[in-house]
Amino acid sequence: MKLEMGYINIQDIKFASKSEIKNGVLYVDTAAVKALVLEDENIKSVELDIAKPGESVRITPVKDVIEPRVKIEGRGGIFPGIIAKVDTVGEGKTYALKGMAVITAGKIVGFQEGIIDMTGVGADYTPFSKLNNLVMVCEPIADLKQHEYEKAVRIAGFKVATYIGELARTLTPDSTKVFETYDLKTGIAKFPELPRVVYVQMLQSQGLLHDTYVYGVDAKRTLSTLINPTEIMDGAIVSGNCVSACDKNTTYHHLNNPVVEDMFEQHGKTLNFVGVIITNENVYLADKMRSSDWTAKLCRMLGVDGAIVSQEGFGNPDTDLIMNCKKIEAEGVKTVIITDEYAGQDGKSQSLADADVAADAVVTGGNANQFIILPKLDKVIGTLNFVDVIAGGHDGSLRPDGTIEAEIQVLTGATNELGFNKLSAR
């Protein structure tokens, strides 16, 4: 599969009477965007705001972050099975708007949504502080169930991102990059000397509000399967995950998966990137056994030499991670795992809830229990009502002077387990 990505740099976002992109500036017609969001009867109202890098702005509670993209050539459209019809994506040409994101916000479950600071120490921990953000704060109709609210906000975010992506259809990209993988036979013939490496991406799939969708299908209802990495760049995997801001994969993370991009960077040089295995993280123990068995079996069937496994979330998914690692290693495949840690505020406790000697090559995204004090910022998009109860916060997190003391778990993307952050350990 061959996908050409065209990158269009967005340097600023402004509200205007007409939506368009001109000279690197995104102009947004708020009335058109609001009308799009309010098509869903479950959303009572939506407020739009703009947050730029360096501004004294705090966005909370953040649900999802999405990069607008548009399919220019090739089958299907962005977010297949959700916004576009079901069709295999990942080939042809796609444009992405770089330097910006659509952020959805709203109190879905009080304790789980995250914080994005656009300045101060908190901004260093979240990659989204470096983007121009169009923020949508969605309010539900009365008595709407949380999972219906989550769905409404999730879909609204994709609709708005698609609407904005479409504005780039006739533009000329600032830069382009080609990503290409080969079928097994061609890959082996083309790179006979290179180690064949697969990427195993674990998807959060623990139930309502903890879900990930693949071509519109709830990942917890799937067996481990193969996907081409370029399909992921076209939005084949999206987030429906509301749990643990620091290490949940937002849709932005999926679209810009750094493991995929780094493996492509080495593809044909130091390794042969065979493809991606996606596997779930279910609650039921037999499901964990089945999915990890299946993942190891796929590694064996593909005859790979190495595997990189990334986790999403923590807790019982630590067991999925270790099962995957142990079983893939048992197939004679060298395995590296990417995770994050909950090692206590002093960093001295055991990092994961599970362990095995086979997990002897570990990359960490950082310690989510790391303590931080966030400064008071001038403007809040959303509400601070939930700071005391947000995951990573505690009684008295929001101090009288407006500063926040908490663990970095509160910051969206702070210890991301795809490596989309700056924390690690050596």
């Binding site: 479950v109 009080g110 304790f111 789980q112 949380q146 999972h147 959060q204 799939s205 623990q206 139930g207 309502l208 509000l209 903890h210 917890k220 749990v243 643990s244 290490d247 949940k248 993280e281 279910n282 609650v283 039921y284 123990l285 037999a286 499901d287 964990k288 979330g313 923590f314 807790g315 019982n316 998914p317 630590d318 067991t319 909950y342 206590g344 406790s349 055991q350 809830a353 599970d354 939930f386 005391d388 109860v389 995951a391 505690h394 009684d395």
Partner: protein
């Protein structure tokens, strides 16, 4: 005779000489359209005895009716067992949910065996360990996904109702979970009611997500 798909449900009818069902069946290794009567496999046509007063056509129709009736009975039985078995009075027999979550109790009681205990997160894990010592197996992982132990006061764990020899794997998991939970302090003295309800909901959705797998067979 082998049937594809849910073949086990049709095993009881394997002795019948032919089947007629909607769609297709796999008969003697071949796919056969079933909108027409299938020929008996017992003996070639020329070897079949001629019974006075009953034409071959009538005999075929009788067999057809009998097989249809038999099959209908099997299908109804299987659908019934698949949807609610094994149950007693509508309660799944093989599963017990140990919980301190009132929402799980109110939502799932009657459908599942619920042991509701007004105890802490730590104590609930210890209770589950007691059950594992008695030979019950863990069916769900006791730790939540992406919620720290004791950040939420609520926890539900599914175990087998049936007991056997103590399951070492279950014991290792619950012992490890107790250790993990110990390292996390209680970070909030009290929670607003709305947040309590959110925690209850998320714990409930976690345990509910295991139910389709737990009741599949």
């Amino acid at each position: 005779m082998r049937l594809s798909g849910e073949s086990c449900y049709f095993a009881a009818a394997e002795d019948a000489s032919f089947f007629v069902v909607c769609g297709k069946v796999k008969l003697s290794g071949k796919w056969t359209e079933t909108d027409r009567p299938l020929k008996s496999r017992k003996a070639p046509k020329e070897q079949q005895p001629i019974i006075a007063g009953i034409s071959q056509a009538n005999k075929r129709r009788q067999r057809l009716c009998f097989a249809n009736f038999l099959l209908l009975g099997v299908v109804v039985f299987c659908l019934f067992t698949r949807s609610v078995m094994p149950t007693e009075g509508g309660v799944a027999l093989n599963i017990v949910i140990i919980t301190n979550n009132p929402l799980v109790k109110s939502k799932l009681e009657g459908e599942f065996d619920i042991e509701f205990l007004e105890i802490t997160y730590d104590k609930l894990f210890e209770k589950v360990r007691d059950y594992v010592h008695k030979g019950h197996k863990l069916l769900t992982h006791p730790l939540s996904g992406s919620i720290k132990p004791k950040e939420t006061p609520y926890k539900s764990v599914m175990i087998s109702k049936k007991t056997g020899k103590m399951d070492n794997e279950s014991l290792a998991i619950i012992e490890n979970c107790i250790e993990v939970a110990r390292k996390f302090p209680i970070i909030r003295s009290s929670l607003p009611q709305s947040i309590k309800e959110d925690f209850q909901l998320v714990d409930c959705t976690l345990i509910e997500s295991a139910i389709p797998s737990a009741t599949a067979f």
